[in-house]
Amino acid sequence: MDWDIVIGIETHVQLRTNSKQFSGASTAYGSEPNSQACLVSLAYPGVLPVLNKEAVNCAIRFGLATDAEIASRSIFARKNYFYPDLPKGYQISQFELPIVNHGKLSISINGKEKEVRILRAHLEEDAGKSLHGIVQGKTGIDLNRAGTPLLEIVTEPDMSSADEAVTYAKKLHELVQWIGICDGNMQEGSFRCDVNVSVKKKGDTKLGTRREIKNLNSFRFIKQAIDYEVNWQIERLEDGEKIDQATILFNPETGETRAMRSKEEANDYRYFPDPDLLPLEVTANMIDKIKLSMPELPASVAERFEKNLGLSSYDASELTANREVTNYFNNVLQFECSPKITANWILGVIFSQLKEKDISISLCPISPAQLAKLIQRIEDQTISNNAAKKVFDALWQKPNTEIDLLIDELGLRQISDSGAIDQLVEEVINANINMVNEFKSGKEKAFNALVGQVMKASKGKANPTQVSEILKKKLTI
């Protein structure tokens, strides 16, 4: 039987603010346990929340970036439940009236554009961290993270495969970093996805019962968890069993999912408007101000790269996947390098190096100015493309070396002096009469062999274009 897969994603994005959602405690990652647990984070008797302006700005930025409606009035509510890392016994979140509604994000699936609808995005606060193994058989509570601003972004169930889900998650991950609202650090938990999965018989209009996989913090886990979950659900249904709605956890070690034990009871969160907070008003003025500070969005930049620079759509989208990459690319172009060659260098040589070293482009030892110089040396035929790769490797080791010195040091300067090439060509013709004859009798391959001989005689330094031009001239006289 054929099955349709239906996936919706809720992403918790930690906002890139200095202080917490409702207090002036630091949000820095990795500090001493509980050193950032202020009175409000500890939920001391009598303390009150005051909303962080920057978190609101981040939500507005996200709304603008996804072409969403930004509510002029939104309400904070309390979501009540007991958990040791939830100090107040309730989480402040937005329930009935969230700040962002009805946005959209385009993803590209096998070259086809697909729109994922964003139902809503709301502001809320993170919980603390439960630590296991500090004391045998007990749980430790660190409240440094408690109160960190979150934007929870909820999609409609618009994705129909693990690949689509991962593509959406990656695209969203890129976007929130692009607009500067999240550092995107998934290992530190800055970007975490809850994935709702259900299956239904192909063509059925009624959705199946969904199970929610909690807290996935890598794209690989999202893929593995969905794949496992989809198979599990289909097998169950094919065995004639039914699926119960459940909250489940993914175990990266086994690659399996399992229902959470602690959430067995039906949750009754008793949401109600938080009386400690007033309605949040977002004025047109606030939105206009933020619009002015918004960067051009990646989709628009990519379109421009295609249209104005003649890049392929693949290259354009790769170069706009990340704002640092785009900046790097733009910075190289400032030196009037060829966009195409620059794109090839960044997406080829640089990316493979970055991947090998597992670093981001911001840590690339070779500056855009240096790459530009290197490309210029290719363009002015000082060095060949192959020689340039050698220079690049050397440069990676000694990042601040002057390019021209390095070329000379490595003896890679290309011979473009036509007199010298002429002489080399002459010598090769005289030493390889057989090949010359073969060429003259119509064997085109012999020509390439002769070029190769000239290059070899020049120790690779002769300009290959010039070599073939001169050779052709001499052979066709």
Binding site: Y44, L48, P84, L277, L278
Partner: protein, 484 residues
């Protein structure tokens, strides 16, 4: 010294008739002498108080003093005070030493007032007789077999017995005004948002408001001058222009329109209390005020609405008492669930648990619309009643409580009877309006309070109206026998 106004005490300090150290020691001695009978204080820390007094004396010496510098003020144990045990009348916080000052406490500290001690109260401010405190019930100094009212019963008894010249209270449904009425002094609940709630342990956040408690309106004005003000740590605090509440006390009140709501004089009101209130209204008439009949038709719904909204908010506000980070934790438990269940079973008293359960119920799935949302809608109707009424009058007057002080244990086991104590005060909390109780007469040596309800931010006018009455009468200066 025991029956001097704050202004007179200030004069005594400034003119060096006595020092703050002497004044503070004098009241500490009174507390020492009477507290075992009255149980008005939970925590006394003479060393801390006297240190503050010395500091105040230095301020006075250097001329950097204001009206409250060096004056001992009894603080309700709902206000977090740095270094002080702050219990909120509950075992749950029996061992809670606050690391910080509530904004109200900070403001008193800034002007050099002396914290005389932390006063007893109904547990988490839930009660109208001060019988729900973990630290035992408070006695009414007018008759020790009677309750002082609640929840600010400790502050009330302290003022009535002149164990302190001034005190603070909080009022969620009448907790300043009803005890002021039962103990015979002046108490003011300001407009919601006038006084910061930061550091004031929450009961029902949308209703809680701190206010002054002292013998006279003039004293309350002096206290409010310190307490009121915008606080950026409290999102619900209102950025209202700073006023001097002492400035208009002596304005003439001729032509004042006093609204008398007929619903405040229906069944449930004790007949002799009614007579006292009517006499007080006649005094105002003699002073040139005009009495206007008004109606607050939804008054009978105030208690039902309140007992949905207040417990709902409380059930959530009190979730933080879970035995994880501070406060009480059960001694024996096998797992996390049991730790929660026993900590909260043992740490909270009966009335608090009852309200948490009611609050949990009205917010739970399937009941929210019928209870919580409905209550919020009727809250709007009640608020609109006042809006209409204030088109016809400048101030509303009626009884503060339906009876004089009642016997201890009389209503303790009957929550509904107890809840009726706040029938005249609750609707102002729901509307966020300022309300006040002033001594208006006595019935068989027990005080009766007259309630004034003003429009938003009309505290200055209300204090003026109260002061006018107090210039003509001496009810507010009367003290129980055996106090001196």
């Amino acid at each position: 010294m025991i029956n001097l106004s704050l202004k007179s005490l200030n004069q005594g300090l400034v003119k060096k008739k006595f020092s703050s150290l002497e004044l503070t020691q004098f009241f500490l001695n009174r507390v020492e002498k009477h507290n075992s009978d009255i149980n008005a204080f939970i925590s006394i820390d003479a060393e801390k108080s006297l240190t503050q007094a010395k500091h105040a004396d230095a301020l006075i010496q250097s001329g950097q003093n204001s009206l409250l510098t060096g004056i001992p003020v009894a603080q309700k144990d709902i206000f977090c005070s740095a270094g002080w045990r702050t219990t909120c009348g509950s075992l749950m916080l029996d061992n809670f030493i606050s690391p910080y000052d509530a904004t109200v406490i900070q403001k008193f500290n800034e002007v050099g007032a002396v914290n005389l001690g932390k006063t007893n109260m109904d547990e988490f401010a839930m009660g109208s007789s001060n019988e729900t405190s973990y630290y035992g019930s408070v006695k009414n100094p007018w008759d020790l077999s009677l309750v002082p009212g609640g929840s600010s019963g400790g502050s009330a008894a302290a003022i009535a017995a002149r164990l302190a010249p001034a005190a603070t209270g909080t009022d969620t449904g009448g907790s300043i005004r009803q005890p002021a009425s039962l103990c015979g002094f002046t108490g003011l609940k300001p407009t919601y948002g006038l006084v910061s709630r930061f550091g004031m342990i929450a009961f029902a956040s949308s209703l809680d408001q701190a206010g002054p408690m002292a013998p006279s309106a003039e004293d309350c004005a002096a206290l409010l001058n310190v307490m009121a003000g915008y606080d950026e740590k409290d999102s619900t605090s209102i950025n209202h222009e700073k006023e001097d509440y002492l400035a208009n006390l002596d304005e003439p009140i001729k032509g004042l329109r006093i609204g008398v709501p007929k619903e405040f004089f229906e069944k449930g009101l004790d007949g002799s209390v009614q007579k006292v209130i009517e006499a007080a209204l006649m005094s105002y008439k003699k002073m040139g005020a005009e009495l206007v009949d008004i109606s607050l038709p939804n008054t009978h719904l105030a208690i039902p609405v309140y007992y949905v909204i207040a417990p709902a908010e409380a059930s959530s506000n009190l979730s933080r008492y879970d035995g994880v980070r501070y406060g009480y934790r059960a001694k024996e438990y096998d797992d996390l669930m049991e730790m929660y269940f026993k900590t909260r079973q043992e740490g909270f008293g009966e009335e608090v648990k009852r309200r948490i359960l009611i609050g949990t119920y009205v917010l739970s799935a399937g009941y929210y619309d019928a209870y919580y949302l409905k209550a919020q809608k009727i809250r709007k109707l009640i608020s609109d009643d006042f809006k209409k009424a204030f088109e016809k009058c400048d101030v509303i007057m009626g009884p503060s409580a339906p009876s004089v002080a009642f016997k201890a244990n009389e209503k303790k086991s009957d929550p509904l009877a107890m809840y009726l104590q706040d029938i005249y005060t609750i609707s102002t909390n729901l509307a966020g309006l300022p309300g006040m109780s002033i001594p208006a007469g006595m019935i068989e040596n027990l005080p009766v309070g007259l309630q004034l309800i003003g429009n938003y931010f009309k505290e200055s006018q209300m204090l003026n109206i109260a002061h006018a009455f107090q210039k003509e009468t001496d009810w507010h200066t009367r003290m129980p026998d055996g106090v001196s």
